[in-house]
């Protein structure tokens, strides 16, 4: 069989209504050959963890522009861990100040992609950091 595509969940936690970036990224990753589950706006951490579990994704990409990242992102990573999804790569993008990045990494967010990151860069990072596929 051909190589298994990497499966990515793109979700927007919280209340900001700006999903252009998330949609452009979802579409761009599709064009890079990923299988992208797009769940839309206003996701609770609970919804994101459930979607990640049921879809058995390799990567969770969180887009957040509301400023609530220090509350919401650690909540997502904690829920994922509680459900046994500690091998899922969690990344974030949007408007996140550099000063917050160390604490987010501490909380289990593997990478933070700021404005100006290209889709090719995101794709390359995912390809080199996801868990190896099972036989």
């Amino acid at each position: 069989m051909s190589e298994r595509p990497i499966k990515v969940l793109i979700a927007k936690p919280g209340l900001d209504g700006h999903d252009r970036g998330a949609k452009v990224l979802a579409r761009g990753l599709r064009d890079e050959g990923f299988e992208v589950v797009y769940t839309g706006l206003r996701q609770t951490p609970e919804m994101i963890a459930t979607a990640a579990l049921q879809e058995d994704v390799d990567v969770v990409g969180l887009s957040i522009l509301s400023g609530a990242h220090m509350t919401l992102l650690p909540k997502v990573t904690r829920l994922l861990r509680e459900r046994g999804l500690d091998d899922v790569l969690v990344t974030a993008g949007g408007i996140i100040p550099d000063d917050d990045i160390p604490a987010l990494r501490e909380a289990g967010v593997a990478a933070v992609f700021g404005p100006g990151t290209t889709i090719a860069e995101v794709a390359a990072y995912f390809r080199s950091h996801v868990r190896p596929p099972e036989a």
């Binding site: 298994r4 890079e32 990923f34 797009y38 609970e46 979607a51 036989a135």
Partner: protein, 337 residues
């Protein structure tokens, strides 16, 4: 049993016992057609056949995902466990896919009795992924009473879902075409239930009336339970119920669930026996084709297969002769050293 076989069996048992993480991983194995999946599916098959598999199909934008969400809500009111397999197309160019059906099905994140799985079609034509039926089998084994199979947005002839499902629902939007569209062969013919969705739009009732008139005007009596042999000489068209729903508000959805239940009950009395046989054939044929392909590209025959295909590509050999050659090479069965 090998170590991998033991792990596969453990995964299958955990999925059946209610471990949702195990269920999700097993579905991934099924999608990737791994050795794990085969072991697990063989183990689970005897406990399947209990769920009601309902196919939901129709044109892009007709409201399939919204209707699925409304059906989940209605089934949960009745206390039934619901699973969804939602298929979206893979890119024929890059192999990537955008799976967007969950957007409308978010309300059940903390409800363990609802399980939603998106699948990319991965190059399979016909409206489903090649492994969608196997995925539904796994969800059946995991104890879900209602399993909804949502196809990609379909055109006129993606009728594969009818073989995969016990009951096939074809969704239409109001004013999608005139009466001639309703009497063309294809998708509408495989419907057990036709739903005109977006019932709050003008034209919905008129569309439903036209569909009722055209789909029941074929003069064939509705086949009756207890006379399963009658249709054997010549296949009879179905005479589907035509319902109107507004999935976004839930209007008409209780009546749809009731119609699904009636169709399921009728199926238990023998009407759906043909559907079950067709599904068995489709499943077995899929595996036969996969295994044939595996052998033809395997270490024994791979080179000969490649040169035969090259000959067809170069127009030195016609495709029929090539097929006969390949089949003969398998039948000859050069034994492995």
């Amino acid at each position: 049993m090998s170590e991998a076989g033991v792990r596969a069996a453990e995964l299958a048992d955990a999925a059946v016992a209610g471990d949702r993480r195990a269920l999700a991983r097993l579905l991934t194995a099924v999608e990737n057609r791994t050795a794990t999946a085969e072991v697990a599916l063989r183990r689970l098959y005897p406990v399947t056949g209990r769920a009601h598999l309902v196919g939901i199909t129709g044109a892009p934008g007709a409201g399939k995902s919204t209707l699925v969400a409304a059906l989940i809500a209605e089934a949960r009111l009745a206390g039934r466990a619901v699973a969804v397999v939602a298929v979206d197309p893979s890119s024929p160019i890059t192999g990537g896919a955008l799976l967007g059906d969950r957007v409308r099905m978010q309300a059940y994140a903390s409800d363990d009795e609802v399980f939603i799985r998106s699948m990319a079609s991965r190059g399979h034509a016909g409206g489903l992924a090649a492994t969608s039926t196997a995925a539904a089998t796994v969800l059946d084994a995991a104890g879900f009473d209602l399993v909804l199979l949502e196809t990609v947005g379909t055109g006129q002839s993606e009728v594969e879902v009818a073989a995969a499902a016990d009951t096939t629902v074809v969704l239409e939007a109001p004013d999608m075409g005139d009466e001639v569209q309703a009497i063309k062969a294809g998708l509408l013919e495989v419907a057990d239930i036709v739903v005109v969705n977006k019932g709050d739009r003008p034209g919905a009732q008129r569309t439903a009336a036209q569909l009722r008139a055209m789909l029941s005007a074929n003069g064939n009596p509705r086949p009756t339970a207890g006379a399963p042999g009658e249709a054997a000489d010549h296949p009879r068209p179905k005479r589907p119920d035509v319902l109107v729903t507004t999935a976004s508000t839930g209007e008409g959805v209780p009546a749809l669930l009731a119609a699904l239940d009636r169709h399921r009950a009728a199926g238990r009395d023998g009407l759906a026996d043909g559907a079950r046989l067709a599904r068995a054939e489709a499943q077995v044929w899929e595996i036969v084709a996969e295994r044939l392909r595996g052998r033809l590209h395997g270490p024994d025959a791979g080179e000969a297969t490649a040169s035969t295909l090259r000959a067809v590509a170069d127009h030195r050999l016609d495709p029929y002769a090539a097929a006969d050659l390949l089949l003969a090479s398998l039948a000859g069965g050069r034994p492995r050293a």
